[in-house]
Amino acid sequence: MNELGLQPFLILSAFLFSCGVVCIATKRNAIGVLMGVELLLNASNLNLVAFARFKPGFALDGQVFALLVIVLAAAEVAVALAIILNFYNNHATVDVDAADSLRD
């Protein structure tokens, strides 16, 4: 094994994606859920850049998509944190299990 191929990057990205899914599914802290989303976005970004490197004709597109995802993730975090802060101000907790007032 002397040449670095596409597969190791895909497997690492799959691992990051699974970690993100488990993080979203099991964390009770709303900011922990947000970190899980960050892991998901990073995994998909790693996939995009790896394909840009190893697929001919995709060199520009993969990097451009990755940059757009990075910028949109920053925007998403800003809005999500604003919502979480509002929730914290109203309910004095960041437990996502407490956000069930629509149920009643």
């Binding site: 596409l6 497997i11 993080c23 599914a25 910028v71 925007a75 802060l85």
Partner: protein, 192 residues
């Protein structure tokens, strides 16, 4: 073992271990620190792939901007018992099994893709072609055929590459800034 393979092994191990740390840590502050190492590891992988500009953008925007925002959120909300919210063990088991199954599925799929034969040919474009494509100066027609289009048919493509997504993202950022500032503003007390 060549240098890229050895570097990949080290960086991938650090990234995977810190991603696992994000999942397993109970304390929010520790989760943020683990996430920091994961983001830095992913950026190093971009450098390893030859995408220098994307790696620099990842370092600046993600590590310097997004993670600082997350840490501010942790600081503003983590008080007393909220710093460590324990998950029920049953939920952890179900989530872990789900994640393991998903990981296995993704690994199987990624082995079925197969490594493209032209691995050595790919040299990623630097910041100048990226910027020109964002400004719409580069023609970006993929060499391959589009799926769903008959073989002989010419697909009309505009030469303006990524100008429209660039503008949409910039307007989106402006809207998000206004929205976030409106959502998180300090409530004024109404004087009776």
């Amino acid at each position: 073992m060549s240098l890229p393979v050895a570097l990949f092994a080290v960086v991938a191990t650090v990234t995977a271990v810190s991603a696992l740390g994000v999942v397993l840590a109970a304390n929010v502050v520790r989760m943020a620190v683990w996430l920091l190492f994961t983001l830095i590891g992913v950026s190093l992988l971009y450098f390893l792939l030859g995408a220098e500009f994307t790696a620099a953008a990842q370092l600046m925007v993600y590590v310097g901007g997004t993670l600082v925002l997350v840490v501010f959120g942790v600081m503003l909300t983590a008080s007393g018992p909220l710093r460590e919210l324990r998950t029920k063990p049953a939920q952890l088991v179900v989530g872990g099994v789900l994640g393991a199954v998903l990981f296995g599925l993704l690994v199987v799929v990624s082995f079925r893709i197969g490594t493209p034969s032209t691995a050595s040919e790919g040299e990623l474009p630097g910041p100048a072609p990226l910027g020109l494509s964002f400004l719409g100066f580069t023609e970006t027609s993929p060499e391959g055929t589009l799926s769903g289009v008959p073989a002989g048919q010419v697909v009309p493509r505009t030469p303006v590459a990524y100008l429209l997504p660039f503008e949409i993202v910039s307007v989106h950022l402006l809207v998000v800034l206004v929205g976030a500032a409106y959502l998180a503003r300090a409530k004024r007390r109404v004087k009776p």
